[in-house]
Amino acid sequence: MSNALWVCSQCFARSARVGLSQRFLLQRRGLKTDSGLSPGLLARARSLATEHSTLSAHLADAFDAKAAKRIGELALIASTLKEWEHANKSVSELLSLLHDPDTEAELRSLAVEELESSKATLPAIADNLAKALIPRHPFADLPCLLEIRPGAGGDEAGLFAFELLKMYITFCSHRGFRYNLLKREVGDGPSDDRLSEAVLEVDADGAYDLLRTESGVHRVQRVPATEAKGRTHTSAVSVMVLPSFRDAGSGLDSSHDHEDPSSDYYVDPQEVRTEKMRASGAGGQHVNKTESAIRLTHIPTGTVVSMQDSRSQHANRKKAWQILRAKLAEARQEAREQEMVELRRGVMGGVARMGRGDKIRTYNYGQSRCTDHRSGLTVHNLDDVLDGGKSLETVMDSVRTWLVDNEIAAMAAEDSAKDKEWLRAPPS
């Protein structure tokens, strides 16, 4: 497992099954009373907690950066599990006290009271435990790039793309994030407010995790400025959140070092074709050209990034590489997630999943509302949303909750499916 942040739950369930088979059955009866915590999840939590304690013991002898990092990841699971077990134990003790006929009446009433409060806290703890168990997204700690492109809807889509860009910029400045407009291309026409593509770099650790909720198609319904007859149009803008990789050698985490050929996110320069847009003829001191555009093409995937914002070819190349790297990393992660979904589907039938092609949110100007289609939340303060204010945060939080719930449900469903399979054919 070494440094993989994310472990395939199937492999995990399989490894957990070996050691836990005996205890597992015994626990099943007791677990019926738990609120919503499936045995599979519990088994997973237990084994992770064991890993935590063995690693801690190991760390007491010698310092190891990788182990320390892993412990940091597991600490929350271990502590929550301890809390949960403690609460469970006190409940069972109280129950045995109540069932004991020798218990005095006074003590009994106290125990009943105590039991009520303990039972009330149990679901919350179980919920926390489930949340802690969700594997962290591999890019969660990274800063991110936000790519905005107009979709269907012509000029109007370009106009709205510009407004979305402004929305995210103000959102970043509200939160105090450092941002940097890597790329800004405007469409043809006299005015500058029709975006044809923009890439915003949000340079804050964990920005990827925060803005992950924004990936997808944003739909706008309004009477556009370009409309003469006052009809409402619907157009779409696609937003993509990509991980941004820092320059190499900045951290301990080798899995994010893009210069390392063994890394998952390494891009071989041999596979990238660089094109300079340049007129033929003499160069150097003979001419003084200002054409500095660069186009990179990743040949195996056909991904193209062009960049012309800076007057320096060097700077353009650097930015283009940053975007290309981010795009490829996201695509690889996406492919891996897709594989997971296929696996899950095989185990337990269809699972809903929102891809980047799905419509995720509608901004309706006529009704001054903003509806997120994943969480189903509607906010009736569109101006504040477009100002990147509290309302946008509310919407984003609701989506994050939705993502967590989905993840937990998927984990639980998968584990129960595994469980059934195992009951049908117990390992010899």
Binding site: G284, N288, S312, Q313
Partner: protein, 385 residues
């Protein structure tokens, strides 16, 4: 130069009335649009900063101000004034190099070559360190005293090469000393200003102020009696150790390399001819007797620089040349002069980017295209230093 089609001018006008002005110099709508964007950005920031200084002016006035400014900028550009002189600077690597009339504007090719030279230098240093370290393991002999890396840039102009080399190398090299030499006092003043400007901006570390020096000198000076002869200047700089100046590791140069013919026949563009200093472009006619007869007058700088490098025993020499033909001539000149100085056994001469290396020059649209592009000649001496 072919005429710009009327169609294109109309299209440009429809996009922005100022665009046809830029089209004269840029030739394509695409690059004209980019230039207009850069000019507009600059005009707006200049107008804003001047309006905040004079706080009495209203925002409307400031708005009018930047439009007026932009228009005059576009007019200047249509007359062929280089964009870098209008804006006053040019990004070079991660640095911001100020440009002024009378000093050659740094070219993107020079940027690429400087980055390549920096990678060559750091590779050499790493190799050297590994050698000395393995030597230490074998026998605990006294380790060689850490000598500073000494680099000389001849015909430095804006000082872009010394500054970028320092920015790229200083994180890896503890002691470094770079000397930039130019004949023009205008260039020397600007290079000093560029050094201070980039240190102030934080793109160069503070030690650059001590590590980089600029001196006036004449590469073409034949006699050692001349106080501006490069060797005399280096002697001056190393006052503490009077008897022998410390060895020079690297000589890098982007000397004037345009022949008088191609300056006049249209190969050199109007903007360059009219606005950039001829001193930095075309080598003067030199009457100093040479040890080797030169075919071409424009190679005169290379003769002097290569001879100097043999005198100084430099380990690495990097010379920018105008095109591949000149590159080949300079490479041949290197071997002839090496014979002359009887130092040919440990010498390795190469031209970069090599013609078949498509990824290095990137265009890949035929060899004729590549032949016209500038290249660098690299002299590598394995025996010395």
């Amino acid at each position: 130069m072919p005429r710009i089609p009327t169609r294109m001018i109309l299209d440009a006008y429809r996009h922005d009335p100022l665009l046809p002005l830029l089209l004269q110099e840029c030739r394509t709508i695409h690059s004209a649009k980019n230039e207009l964007r850069w000019l507009k950005e600059r005009a707006v920031t200049v107008a804003q900063s001047s309006s905040t200084k004079r706080s009495s002016t209203t925002s409307k006035h400031a708005l009018y101000g930047w439009r007026g400014l932009l228009r005059s900028m576009c007019r200047a550009r249509s007359r062929g004034k280089p964009l870098q002189y209008i804006l006053g600077d040019q990004p070079f690597g991660d640095l911001d190099i100020m440009c002024k009339k009378g000093v050659l504007i740094p070219r993107p090719e020079t940027e690429t070559f400087t980055v390549h030279a920096a990678s060559l230098i750091s590779r050499d240093i790493l190799k050297f360190e590994r050698h000395s370290r393995s030597g230490d393991h074998a026998a605990p002999a006294p380790a060689p005293a850490p000598t500073p890396l000494r680099i000389i840039d001849l015909c430095t102009g804006t000082g872009c090469i010394p500054l970028l080399l320092h920015a790229l190398l200083s994180p890896h090299v503890p002691e470094i000393s770079i000397v930039g030499i130019d004949i023009s006092t205008t260039a020397l003043n600007l290079s000093e200003r560029n050094l201070m400007h980039n240190v102030k901006q934080g793109s160069l570390s503070a030690r650059a102020m001590a590590d980089i020096t600029f001196r006036q000198g004449n590469v073409l000076s034949g006699s050692k009696a001349d106080p501006f002869h490069v060797e005399n200047i280096l002697q001056d700089l190393s006052k503490p150790s009077v008897d022998t100046p410390p060895p020079v590791n690297v000589i890098i140069s982007n000397p004037p390399y345009i022949s008088a013919e191609s300056f006049a026949d249209g190969t050199t563009t109007r903007s360059v001819r009219m606005y950039e200093p001829k001193l930095a472009l075309v080598p003067p006619v030199n009457h100093v007797p040479l040890a080797v007869a030169l075919d071409r007058q424009e190679d005169i700088f290379y003769y002097h620089i290569i001879s100097l490098s043999f005198g100084l025993k430099a380990g690495l020499v990097v010379l920018e040349c105008g095109d591949r033909l000149q590159g080949r001539r300079v490479a041949a000149l290197c071997t002839t002069l090496a014979h002359e100085h009887s130092q040919s056994d440990s010498l390795h001469v190469s031209v970069w980017p090599s013609g078949n290396d498509e990824s290095a020059n990137g265009s890949g649209s035929g060899s004729a295209h590549v032949d016209a592009e500038p290249c660098i000649v690299i002299l590598h001496r394995t025996g010395s230093n």
